[in-house]
Amino acid sequence: MSLSLTSGGTSARQPSSISALSAATERTRRPMVTGTSVLGIRYADGVMIAADTLCSYGSMAKYKDARRLVSVNAKTLVGGGGEYSDFQAVTELLKRNALEDRCTADSLYAEEEGEEGCAREVWNYLRVVMYNRRNKMNPLWNDLVVAGFSSGGDPFLGYVDKIGTTYEDTFIATGFGSYLALPLMREKYRPDLEEGEARALLEDCMRVLFYRDCRALNKIQIAKVTKEDGVLISDPYEIETDWSSAGFMTPKGELDGDGGW
């Protein structure tokens, strides 16, 4: 088990007089470069997740081609919002673990070679990592979505956040998505969605997020995990937006009331 990220926050090597001071500078107090929502949905063939390609630097849209969906092993995708450097550290750790698993696998059963990864185990592992950091008051400041297939062959979609909360569900949204996208997904979701329908639903939610989330972008990525094709992540592409609706066009001064609803 390499839980190397969980050592963050211990200043055991420092004498106690200095530790209080330096400990403060060693803890994550607020995120600097952040990604926003990640959405995930289970559909007929497997699991699909979506995220935009923006990393914001406060209110500045700094990195407009960041990759927030990462393949961690043959059967698992991880999407992350929140502090981008923490997300990179988490995915590097997961990829390193997957490599170690691949290299140490060895068995009399020939079929075992090439069988690797289990999304549920990745999700559980992240739970322990995130909760451990939270207990040290130095969290990895992320909301993570784990999507893929479990070793039992079932599709899996789960959520882990910076304080170690976990849940699994048939559709998941983080950040602003939990407010704006979840109601849309609840209305439109069916367990037997085709790939096109699932993708349209996710794009629709990403569009709404671009309209209403100030830290969102209209360039998105969609990734899916299926039994036949494994993990596939699309290239970033722009989604179409329409700003001609009355709610956007009418100057708020001309409305009754203050423009709020």
Binding site: M1, L3, D101, T104, A105, D106, S107, L108, Y109, E111, E112, E115, C118, R120, E121, W123, N124, Y125, V128, S151, G152
Partner: protein
Amino acid sequence: MFRNQYDTDVTVWSPEGRLLQVEYAMESVKQGSACIGLRSSTHAVLGALKRSVSELSSHQKKLLEIDDHIGVGIAGLTADARTIAKWMRNECLNHKYVYGAPIVSGRLVTDLADRHQRTTQTYVRRPYGVGLLVASCDENGPHLYQTCPSGNVYEYYATAIGSRSQSGRTYLEKIYEGLAEMGRDELIMNAVRALAGCVSGDGELTTENGSVSIVGKGENFTIIEGMELKPYLDRLELEGGNNAAEEEEVTEEEESSGDDDVEAMET
């Protein structure tokens, strides 16, 4: 076996390129009483011959449960085996907590081999004086591994360790080709037959000194001993012993081949 010049420390090579302390540790395994293992495509079975110090004492347990899906049979220094079993159990529990799933036995056994190797490369420790047969079942099927004090680990379809294990191995070599399709009960019977061949000249396999364990798809690791073992021993007696009687063996003691032979030797 008197190679005194290079055998004082485990960190000293002999001129032939051997670590004599490690080899001496492997001798300790050969002194332990027999432990055999075999597996089909659905189950893995271990069998062990339990020794007792005297007529008044209990028989030393040789089959240990590690997790729902893993168990070990030991041969050699029992105390070392207990330490190893404790570590294995801890690893299994930790893995279950972190990953939410039972540990893959191949991984556990690889880590165990690394632990063994570390003891052969440091000045302040000694190799573990125990060999393990690890029987497990994971999503790919059952596995059987053998570990030894040198840190080598091999996966087997069938094997035997401990004293007089050669007769067990010979018997297993004869039947191993049919192992994959073997049913659960037949697998256990073959373990009992192999074990019966490992009993010393003036003894026999009884419900007190025999023990068998089984783990498989849909079946958690279970130890069969005492009265639960009796039906298998009765079947063995009906069969008139096993085939080990015809095999040559390497030990200097007279080989016992089955219950009926033993009765003749009781005199």
